[in-house]
């Protein structure tokens, strides 16, 4: 660890979370809990058609109902917007994006697309009035299938004349034709198609918004269940034409996000616009069945991947063709999601400059997709890890052995990958070895010999997944090269109060991650105080005006590092004050345990508390030094961070019913130095189960007409405790050399690694029956069908 000597040993402790008492007692306030006297309640009427022309909207009956203040159609509000709903990631210069307003005008394009809204004095009056709005629709043919969309047989949005939003290529060759030659010369090659089904993020807190205007003062406060209060502020100001400095955005307690609250939503803009228009507070709380339609979905890709390998099974080329499902419109970062995976299709393996990636993304008449836990990286990892198992079968070696042959050697770190990105640190063999020991890999292989005999109805399978996560978004210049509409820095202020309590202001926006605990630990470590003496302020743009929020496993490796750097600045300033007081040269002072000492003269010392008070009174500061102890840092990371690891999953498949039982799940993750291992393990547990849920349970299912069949949590199968296994965690620690804390991200790793581990295990169990792939989610029916098909329909 590149920490200085003045550690108090706080970092690395399994410290209990300071967030918990308020959350455990009901004291914490989520947006829907806020008391807002006089608030009007917003309800949104949503299209029951996947694609329909809006012929007319008659709001008169609804407007005359008791308690109803106003009713608006999309056309009524068309003039309210200074601009359309924002997409911040125009991935190519010629990317096509249909105009998208908070309420549809002229044509609705997915089931759930808002077409009208009601303001009423109670939520029930608003809801009742929705039933009285008379909308005449002319249903149009909907486009649901991605390849059908690609064909432009039916063009969804007339204004752009095609369903193709963009094609984005990343071809890496020393000289033209290298990839083709590698495939021509390959000793082994595999070609696979994988379907990343649509997923519904389903954060447990549905979204909620409240906008409170100050009609005379001119300011507006927008409360929202969001991961991105800072981004939301900029985008709301732009879309509504509100001066940004008069808009304050607050994210109170936020009940999970997983990317679904990394967005700017119609209801946020509607609440703000209607609060501005009416002069009354306006609030909205999403219902779950509404959210399944109106909050972004995740994944949604068709992946064609080809691997070429030499006689030893070492990769010589990778070719990837993607079709990305954008849904009906582009939301905040919708088009960028496949790009985040583009750099990871070679996994943790050495690959020469023979890589060919191309993604074409299309519009469909379904809910817009966007970032969902992992965003692009789970998809990429799934494809390469599934394909590596296919290659192992082709080459005739054990899947773990094939991976070992291809691992980037530890000695070559930092490693410049074929994409030009530099992987900071890694030791893949160590992580794989630990995972194999924990699950007794060799023992499982031996058990399979005796258990998976012909006629066996319970077959054992083990799945391996070795992964990289590209996180810590992100170096701003790299984002520029990807056409992303913002930077990747993070801001921090550290302020020592006169009584030696410390305030930290962070631009990160936690929603379950435990930043208050973790950031206080970093400050405690750096400043020699107790974590209890540190307060962490966040998620309110009036208190924390600068920041780029929480997503992409960025908060610690960007935001946490910014805090550590701000601490260094405070200590530097404090050192000048202490040196002045102690009549010593600042260079002769040491700082440890919260105290400045003159080197070699242990009795000449001054505690930080005394320095803080001197800085406050400013009675005797060095000439030219400003009063107060406070420092601000904006940190732009020089690199992504690259957590890695190996997950292994042991399953038993009932060949009669197709039921999969996960017997054991082992996760070995390396996220560099750990600030709080308790929180690290919690992140891994949650991520693993979310990824396992993609493998086994979850899918947003649409019928051919574009009706969402899984519109409630009774149909969309988020698993419960009874449906998932315990998780055995292990860690290796390979610090990142690119930041002073040596840390990497951990928020998405579990989700990235677990999905292929589970499916690889199922296919492994069934490989003796001729099964080569099982589509996701691997429901009992799906597994049974795969067995049947492999057995030629005999069962």
């Amino acid at each position: 660890m590149t920490m200085t000597d003045d550690t108090t040993g706080v970092l690395g402790q399994r410290m209990l979370r300071r967030e918990d008492p308020a959350l455990l007692t009901g004291e914490a306030k989520y947006t829907a809990d806020l008391p807002i006297p006089g608030a009007l309640h917003l309800a949104v009427l949503r299209s029951p058609y996947a694609r329909a022309r809006i012929v007319s909207v008659d709001t008169s009956a609804a407007a005359s109902m008791p308690g109803v203040t106003a009713v608006f159609s999309g056309a009524d509000l068309a003039e309210a917007w200074a601009g359309p709903m924002p997409c911040a990631w125009p991935v190519t210069d010629d990317m096509k994006s249909p105009t998208h307003y908070p309420l549809a005008v002229g044509q609705a394009n997915y089931v759930g697309d808002g077409v009208a809204c009601v303001l009423a004095t109670s939520a029930s009056a608003a809801r009742d009035a929705l039933d009285a709005i008379d909308v005449e629709y002319e249903p149009l043919e909907a486009v649901i299938d991605l390849e059908d969309a690609l064909s432009d047989r039916v063009v969804i949005h007339d204004e752009i004349g095609t369903n193709r939003s963009y094609t984005w290529d990343l071809k890496i060759e020393e000289s033209e034709g290298d990839v083709d030659r590698a495939f021509a010369d390959a000793a082994y090659s595999v070609k696979e198609r994988y379907i990343q089904q649509r997923l519904i993020p389903a954060a447990m807190e549905p979204r909620a918004v409240a906008a409170i205007p100050q009609p005379f003062g001119g300011d507006m406060t927008l409360y929202s269940s969001t991961q991105v209060p800072h981004i939301l502020k900029v985008m709301t100001a732009l879309t509504l034409g509100i001066p940004e400095h008069q808009l304050r955005v607050v994210a109170p307690a936020v009940g999970g996000g997983f990317g679904s609250k990394l967005n700017v939503y119609a209801e946020e803009l509607l609440c703000a616009a209607l609060a501005q228009r009416t002069g009354s507070p306006v609030r909205w709380a999403e219902t779950r069945s509404e959210g399944n339609q109106a909050t972004i979905h995740g994944r949604g890709q068709i992946q064609d991947i080809e691997l070429a390998a030499d006689a030893d099974g070492r990769l010589t080329a990778v070719r990837v063709r993607l079709i990305g499902d954008m849904g009906a419109y582009l939301q905040l970062v919708t088009p960028g999601v496949p790009l985040l995976g583009a750099f990871l299709y070679a996994g943790v393996y050495e690959l020469p400059k023979t890589y060919d990636f191309s993604c074409t993304s299309v519009f469909t008449n379904m809910t817009p997709t966007d970032a969902y836990r992992g965003a692009g990286r789970p998809e990429a990892t799934y494809a390469i890890e599934r394909a590596m198992d296919s290659l192992a079968a082709e080459v005739g070696v054990d899947p773990l052995e094939l991976r070992r042959r291809n691992f980037i050697p530890t000695a070559s770190y930092p490693y410049e990958a074929m994409t030009g990105l530099v992987y900071d640190s890694g030791d893949h063999d160590k992580a794989a070895t630990l995972a194999a020991e924990m699950i007794d890999y060799a023992g499982v292989r031996a058990r399979q010999e005796t258990q998976n005999v012909p006629g066996a109805t319970k077959r054992l399978g083990i799945g391996v997944s070795t992964y990289f996560e590209m996180c810590g978004l992100a170096p701003s210049r790299v984002l520029a090269s990807l056409n992303y509409g913002a930077g990747g820095w993070e801001a921090a202020t550290v302020r020592v109060l006169p009584t030696n309590k410390i305030q930290v202001v962070t631009g990160t926006a936690p929603h379950g991650q435990g930043h208050e605990t973790a950031w206080s630990m970093i400050v405690a470590e750096k400043m020699g105080v107790s974590p209890d003496d540190v307060d962490v302020l966040h998620s309110d743009t009036a208190i924390a005006p600068l920041g780029l929020d929480t997503y992409g496993s960025r908060s610690l490796s960007v935001g946490g590092v910014a805090i550590a750097m701000a601490c260094d600045k405070v200590v530097d300033k404090a050192k000048q004050i202490a040196a002045h007081q102690l009549e010593a040269n600042p260079d002769d002072l040491e700082f440890s345990g919260g105290e400045f000492r003159v080197a070699g003269s242990p009795d000449r010392a001054m505690p930080l508390a005394a320095v803080a008070f001197e800085a406050f009174t400013a009675h005797n500061l060095p000439d030219g030094l400003e009063p107060n102890l406070e420092a601000h840092t904006t940190y732009d990371p020089p690199n992504f961070s690259w957590p890695f690891g190996t997950h292994m999953c042991l399953v038993e498949v009932d060949t009669e019913t197709g039921e999969v039982e996960v017997l054991r799940y082992v996760a070995v993750d390396d996220c560099g130095n750990q600030v709080n291992p308790l929180i690290v393990d919690g992140q891994v547990h949650g991520g693993v189960i979310q990824g396992l849920a993609q493998a086994l349970y979850e899918e947003a299912v649409y019928d051919a007409d574009g009706n969402l069949q899984t519109s409630t949590l009774a149909e969309y199968l988020v698993p419960a405790a009874s449906d998932v296994p315990s998780i055995e965690t292990g860690h290796t620690i390979t610090p990142s050399p690119t930041n002073q804390l040596g840390v990497k991200g951990i928020g998405e790793a579990g989700t990235i690694a677990s999905t292929p581990a589970v499916i690889n295990a199922i296919v492994d169990a069934l490989s003796g029956l001729g099964v080569r792939d099982v589509p996701m989610p691997a429901s009992p029916n799906t597994v049974w069908r795969a067995i049947n098909e492999a057995q030629g329909g005999q069962q």
Binding site: R127, D128, D131, E656, T657, G658, A720, S722, S779, P780
Partner: protein
């Protein structure tokens, strides 16, 4: 999330409840535990104009021996059915099946009568009571009548109950030490069964009820005949779907449901034999 508005009246007795429902007519519904009705109302899939709350009707929560039968009051909660020592001794299959309904919170509030009257073929208890040869007691304006479970279910959410009749009691024959098995197959524990099989067996006599294999719960008579004729469990189970008419849904195709019914019936017969 917010139901459409309705009027609410509370009945103190079965007679009062029947009188009230008669007054209000077709748009009125009985409310027992509400754990089938309220979710449908929240999504506005059901919009009754009047609810007659029978949840407080006195003396309809009991489990007692009555000769060679066990009598269960219609308002007995799933949790009480699950934990009943009387049922554990005499009808363990029903107690066990009740422990698979919904989740603990649902079982604390939902009632056996409400579940049966709702006539959802995917529910656990209709098929279980059908397999057990139960009789339901209904009370209406003209007094009470007994309806055999085999005659009760007419289709999805429709039963032999007249709109102004309510279930008051479920009478289940004692199992007399018969072997039994309840096979509930689903993806999440809290969900309705994709397919379920409730079976008991005593010598060559058996009863097999199927959950979610048609628009009504299904009595697999062909299986019982095969067992009576000396067929092995595996052979008898081949007839499991003979009386069924399953539909496809998000969790299962028709052929998979038929297959599952056979596999689960075989397992149930094996588990309940001797």
């Amino acid at each position: 999330m917010i139901p459409a508005a309705f009027d609410y009246v509370r009945a103190g007795s079965a007679a009062e409840a029947i009188d009230l429902i008669g007054q209000y007519g077709d748009e009125a519904k009985f409310l027992a535990g509400g754990h089938s009705l309220v979710p449908a109302m929240k999504l506005r899939l059901a919009q009754p104009t009047v609810l007659v709350d029978i949840g407080r009707v006195a003396d309809l929560s009991y489990i007692r021996e009555d000769g060679d039968q066990i009598a269960i009051g219609a308002l007995t909660r799933h949790m009480d059915v699950e934990n009943s020592p009387v049922l554990a001794e005499h009808v363990p299959l029903l107690a066990h099946a009740a422990g698979h309904v919904g989740d603990p919170q649902v079982r604390h509030r939902g009632t056996i009568g409400g579940s049966l009257a709702h006539a959802d073929p995917a529910s656990d208890l209709p098929a279980t009571t059908l397999a057990l040869g139960a009789t339901y007691v209904a009370q209406g304006p003209n007094g009470t009548r007994e309806i055999a479970a085999a005659d009760f279910y007419h289709g999805y959410f429709t039963s032999a109950l007249a709109p102004d009749e309510m279930l008051t009691e479920i009478r289940v024959p004692k199992m007399g030490g018969a072997g039994w098995s309840f096979q509930k197959f689903n993806r999440r524990a809290q969900d309705w069964a994709i397919v379920g099989v409730a079976a008991w067996q005593r010598g060559s006599e058996c009863g097999v009820g199927l959950v979610n294999m048609a628009s009504t719960p299904v009595l697999a008579s062909s299986v019982a005949s095969a067992v009576a004729g000396g067929a092995s469990a595996a052979d008898a189970a081949e007839a499991a779907a003979a009386e069924a008419d399953p539909q496809a849904d998000l969790n299962a195709s028709v052929d998979y449901r038929v297959h599952l019914a056979k596999v689960l019936t075989r397992r149930a017969l094996e588990a309940s034999a001797g």
